[in-house]
């Protein structure tokens, strides 16, 4: 790794990937990133000329599904480039080194490329007791803070690193926090999803390399190119939503006809991701296409806003099946009951007032005492 600085293209060429394949990859990436045609050239040039991007990839409290997703990127070149060849000076799951050598690897990156390397993080960071996640005797928080201090930018892979995911779900025993909540001073790119789509991950890396700056982010730190639209807005079943055609049970006629899964608890309308466009497993399918509602895995707190098969989240403290509507009806009925009781009281009072009112012809006075 300390050899001559090879560019992406040189790396992949050495591994037997043809020029044609390489150009195809660049074109696909430009399309995913939403670039205009000239962007293809920019990507090609960047990958041909720029040296590889030094990357330190940490695994904290997570399940490695982000890495798993990444290595299943639809275009093999992505995995080849980004995983095998160019970036990973330190990646706990995939690196060959272990122990002292592994520690050395990432210390070397920090020393050799100050201000240039990218820190990529999978997993949340425990803050309740840092000992919940330790590597080499140091806590996740210590490691992350040290690595981030001299980095260029931070990429938070997946829901764990972006929003805490299941570890941060109530009651959050480890005090798990996403990356952007525990570090400051460096740009953090939240690549949401559980896991994020492989091509989205590759797109972010290619963007970082090509343009030498972080992609445009939305209010929650997610790259706009991939997270500016709801799954619902790009859903091929959307026409059924607008037409009011809903699945009501997984085996009903509507399900067979491919109606909208809104009433089955689909979180597509509240989830920003590219599933409807890029899809999964080389564009084969995505949950909704397979007849299952979106569970909203690219949104913060999706575990705590279940159940997955209800449109409305349950309200904490009222039991898992209690939605706002149930509480609303109960409160509304109590209001009606209260109003009815009040009306009875009022009538008793009014009756008294009427019977005490003077007969016609008697002296004028106000009916209410002051």
């Amino acid at each position: 790794m300390e050899n001559k600085e090879l560019s992406f293209y040189e790396e992949v060429k050495a591994s037997g990937i043809s020029r044609k394949e390489f150009l195809k990859f660049c074109t696909v990436m430009a399309a995913w990133l939403g670039l205009e045609t000239s962007g293809v050239g920019q990507i090609v040039k960047a990958l041909e000329t720029k040296p590889r991007l030094p990357v330190i990839w940490f695994h904290f409290q997570e399940c490695t599904c982000c890495s798993e997703s990444f290595i299943r990127a639809s275009h093999p070149i992505v995995a080849n480039i980004v995983l095998d060849k160019i970036s990973l000076d330190y990646q706990e799951t995939l690196m060959a080194a272990s122990g002292v050598q592994a520690e050395d690897a990432y210390k070397t990156v920090m020393a050799k490329y100050p201000g240039q390397y990218i820190v990529m993080v999978e997993g949340s960071i425990p803050t309740e007791n840092e000992a919940y996640c330790c590597i080499g005797g140091r806590s996740a928080l210590q490691i992350l803070k040290e690595a981030v201090a001299n980095s260029k930018a931070v990429v938070a892979w997946g829901n764990c690193a972006s929003a805490g995911c299941v570890q941060a779900a109530s009651p959050n025993p480890t005090g798990a926090k996403p990356v952007h909540k525990v570090i400051s001073g460096k740009p953090v790119i939240n690549v949401q999803g559980c896991p994020p789509i492989a091509d989205v991950m590759a797109g972010v890396v290619v963007h970082l390399l090509t343009f030498d700056r972080i992609p445009q982010l939305d209010g929650l730190g997610r790259p706009k190119a991939f997270y500016s639209r709801r799954v619902h807005d790009t859903c091929y079943r959307r026409a059924n939503f607008d037409a009011g055609l809903f699945v009501e049970a997984f085996d009903d006629e509507g399900a067979k006809r491919g109606y909208c899964l809104y009433k089955m608890g689909c979180k597509g309308p509240v989830t920003y991701n590219s599933c409807g466009i890029i899809k999964w497993n080389d564009g084969v399918s995505y949950p909704i296409q397979s007849g299952h509602p979106c569970i909203g895995c690219a949104e913060a707190g999706f575990w705590d806003n279940g159940p997955f098969y209800h449109h409305l989240p349950a309200i904490a403290g009222f039991g898992i099946e209690t939605t706002a509507d149930k509480i609303g009806v109960a409160v509304g009925l109590s209001a009606v009951a209260g109003v009815a009781g009040h009306a009875i009281l009022t009538n008793i009072r009014k009756h008294r007032e009427i019977t005490n009112a003077p007969e016609a012809g008697s002296e004028i006075k106000t009916t209410k005492e002051e």
Partner: protein, 239 residues
């Protein structure tokens, strides 16, 4: 025959803009609650047809959005009127910053809510408790506008909704915004139940013509109340 003879005068309480605001608002809230509930819990009454032939749910959503825009601008007009309208519509009625307003709130609770005493409430416009409740509903209006347009912003390029694009990140995601928007709908329903009941109640008990006042703008007010109102000594906007 029982005859009640109380010297009364007519007072113009609700000016035309306030009345227009009220009824436009009522219509919007009704529309928004019905369409909103349907959007949150659509009846799946159609089977065996294809999406190509139908658009009813899209139409329901369209009505919801149109009503939301009307509701929003109507709300802005009312806020403006709170600064230029007559004394009964001014903003300071709605925020209980003065001692006498809190005193009246307690009195109203005793007289009208708990019915433990029977005392004349002098307020010509809203009483202080009603005003406070309206202030809370205004805050709910605001929340509903923020959450509603916040969700709408993601699918619009128009200037106005874009102003609310910060709401979703601020509240931590669409799930929370949608949930809050839905819960607040129930606040409107609850308000409507109690509001309509209290209109009947006040008309029944006070006989000041509160129901028709929102149509004609005039209320019958007892002469002694008017006298007290005009000679009020306490530095209070009300009574």
């Amino acid at each position: 025959m029982r005859i009640r003879s109380v010297p009364m005068r007519e007072v113009q309480v609700w000016e035309l803009p306030v009345r227009i605001y009220h009824w436009v608002n009522a219509l919007c809230v009704l529309t928004l609650c019905i369409t909103g509930y349907v959007i949150g819990n659509p009846p799946a009454f159609m089977k065996g047809t294809e999406a190509y032939f139908n658009y009813w749910f899209g139409t329901v959503r369209f009505i919801h959005f149109v009503a939301a825009f009307v509701f929003f601008f109507n709300f802005l007009v009312r806020i403006y009127w709170g600064f230029v309208g007559n004394e009964f519509s001014r903003w300071y009625n709605f925020i209980p910053l003065k001692r006498c307003q809190w005193k009246e709130i307690l009195t109203v609770i005793k007289v009208d809510v708990l019915q433990v005493t029977n005392k004349q409430i002098d307020s010509i416009g809203h009483n202080s408790l009603a005003s406070l409740i309206y202030f809370i509903t205004f805050l709910i209006f605001l929340m509903q506008c923020l959450t509603g347009f916040g969700m709408y912003a993601a699918m619009s390029n128009a200037f106005l909704p874009k102003l609310f694009a910060w709401v979703v990140p601020f509240l931590g995601g669409d799930i929370h915004v949608r949930q809050l928007h839905h819960i607040l709908m129930w606040a409107f329903i609850l308000f409507a139940i109690i509001h309509i009941y209290l209109v009947f109640y006040h008309d029944y008990i006070e006989r000041r013509g509160v129901t028709s006042s929102m149509i004609g703008g005039w209320k019958y007010i007892e002469e002694d109340v008017i006298v007290r109102h005009e000679n009020r000594t306490e530095e209070c906007p009300k009574n």
